[in-house]
């Protein structure tokens, strides 16, 4: 069984949602990708901040 599929069987709550696979989880801590996301999130946040003042 794939690692990401293990938790689906643990509770009914878990069984009815989505669980990220190994690629999605790896990207969460991939330095290059996260640096790009860091820039993107900062820009998005600055836009919301500027709309709120």
């Amino acid at each position: 069984m794939k690692k990401e599929e293990v938790n689906f069987g643990k509770t009914d709550n878990f069984n009815l949602t989505m669980i990220p696979g190994s690629f999605a989880k790896k990207m969460r801590t991939c330095l290059i990708w996260q640096f790009i996301r860091f820039l993107a999130i900062n820009i998005k946040m600055l836009v919301v901040v500027s709309k709120s003042h």
Binding site: N13, L16, T17, M18, R28, T29, L31, I41
Partner: protein, 489 residues
């Protein structure tokens, strides 16, 4: 010379006081009344609570900062307001009781031209039997609401980790300690930081971790949830929150009102009316909030507390408190200027203002127990409102009573929020979110109530970096270090 008195030195009060002092200069006086000697960057208490930061890293002494800003600092708690003065004077005043500065217990009347109530919440542990007494934390659970609480929580967590390393299985229960709590986000951060630390310590397989919350669905966060554009879909925060819990093997119980806390267990009631007990070895339950209990008196000494304050103790402002049933609620019910409708020289900001109603859909059990999150007024909105109120008061002082009041409706402002899910410069993660507006406006945005172009969320290391940077940035700003005014709220 006019005098502005700011009651409270948290995010909102500190923002209001420091900007007012900067804008008014030495021509007028700004007084801050706060019972605390230290300022606390509360969002980082989460990391103190898992031993990843010290109390000293999230706090600093207020006295030197206020001295630098030219602010008169009174380490005291506000007791009562006399907006009409008393029989011997027409001048408005606030009665305070010192908690420090070698005058603890003594009282003083401070006259004011304008007052900003930013007293924040009373941590109402006493609302749940066994959770605590009044605003004092009880002995059965821990808290991360203050830096001292978080330090205590960290020690208790360390004891659990040691026991697990010795082979004893432990049950962790984290969430809200009453049906009317807010601040689910803090509990959300804490439960995933615990999970992260247990993994790091190599004892995750010895732990059962469970979430208990008054939300009717995971991801409500007191804002009725939010919808985001992801992968070409517009999806509810429910799906993302449930996904994270399932991925990290954290079970949940929602729609829960904790009615009693005992050593090692809680009693709860669910939205469907069922009741039960849940055991724990370690539990962090957020208390409900209430106003700090300020009283108000008319000139003749008559108690006018109910005129100035809502029944929950928060100050009435320019909100529509008569909206009635949920179906009638509108974004325009929410206050814009935060001016008290009875006394125009009184304002409230941050948690201290009385919201017109909750944001989430109101719910109660068949037994009549209300179980729904109360609206969040912390973080970015709190700072923005504090600054807007300071701006209004400064204009009233310098331009006169006809000055235009500045507006900051939570139904027209967005918020950026970063919820930590584990600390580590290369291994940490956090959910970075923006929501626009904070209070959904179903007339302007039919469907989700919010602008999905500006409402988003994602989890990753980038979010952790942002939270870490914000920690340093906001403490820098609060200490009024060079360039502090350039850092947005």
């Amino acid at each position: 010379m006019a005098r502005l008195v700011v009651l409270g030195g948290g995010v909102s009060g500190h923002t209001a006081a420091t900007f007012a002092a900067k804008w008014l200069g030495s021509a007028h006086e700004v007084v801050v009344v706060t019972p605390n000697s230290k300022w606390n960057w509360i969002p980082s208490n989460i990391w103190v609570g898992v031993g990843q930061m010290t109390k000293e890293e999230v706090t600093f002494d207020l006295a030197p900062v206020y001295a630098k800003a030219g602010i008169t600092y009174k380490q005291a708690k506000a007791v009562s307001l006399n907006p009409e003065g008393n029989e011997s004077s027409d001048k408005s005043f606030v009665t305070i009781e010192y908690t420090g500065q070698d005058k603890a217990g003594t009282t003083e009347n401070i006259e004011y031209d304008y007052v900003i109530n930013a007293t924040g919440p009373k941590l109402n542990f006493g609302a749940t039997e066994g959770l605590g007494i009044g605003s004092e934390l009880g002995e059965h659970t821990v808290s991360v609401c203050t830096a001292d609480h978080a330090e205590h929580a960290s020690h208790e967590l360390e004891k659990c980790i040691e026991a697990m390393k010795a082979g004893t299985r432990k049950k962790f229960l984290v969430g809200t300690g009453h049906g009317m709590c807010t601040c689910q986000g803090a509990a959300f951060e804490y439960i995933f930081n615990i999970e992260h630390e247990l993994n790091k310590a190599g004892v995750r397989d010895m732990a059962d971790i469970k979430w208990i919350s008054n939300e009717s669905f995971l991801g409500d966060f007191g804002m009725g949830g939010l919808h985001m554009k992801v992968g070409g879909y517009v999806v509810s925060s429910k799906l993302f929150a449930e996904s994270l819990f399932a991925e990290r093997n954290v079970d949940w119980m929602i729609g829960a009102h904790v009615s009693k806390v005992e050593a090692g267990s809680i009693d709860y009631e669910l939205l469907d009316g069922t009741t039960g007990k849940e055991s724990f070895d370690f539990s962090m339950l957020i208390p409900p909030f209430a106003g700090v209990g300020l009283k108000a008196f008319a000139k003749d000494g008559e108690d006018i507390t109910s005129t100035v304050f809502a029944p929950n103790g928060f100050m009435k402002v320019d909100a529509n408190y008569g909206a009635g049933a949920y179906e009638n609620w509108k974004a325009s019910d929410w206050p814009r200027t935060y001016q008290n409708p009875t006394y125009s020289n009184m304002f409230a900001c941050g948690i201290a203002f009385a919201p017109p109603h909750i944001i989430s859909k109101p719910m109660s059990s068949p037994n009549g127990t209300p179980i729904n999150p109360t609206p969040p007024r912390t973080g970015m909105p709190s700072g923005i409102i504090g600054k807007a109120v300071a701006h209004s008061v400064c204009d009233l002082i310098t331009k006169g009573d006809a000055a235009h009041l500045h507006e900051a409706s939570m139904a027209e402002m967005g918020a950026a929020c970063v919820a930590s899910a584990g600390k580590g410069i290369f291994t940490g993660t956090a959910a970075a979110m923006t929501v626009y507006p904070v209070v959904p406006d179903y007339e302007k945005y039919p469907g989700t109530g919010r602008d999905t172009d500006y409402t988003f969320g994602e989890i990753g290391l980038a979010g952790h970096w942002i939270k870490h940077i914000l920690h340093h940035l906001f403490i820098w700003k609060a200490e009024l270090k060079p360039g502090w005014t350039l850092i947005p709220e």
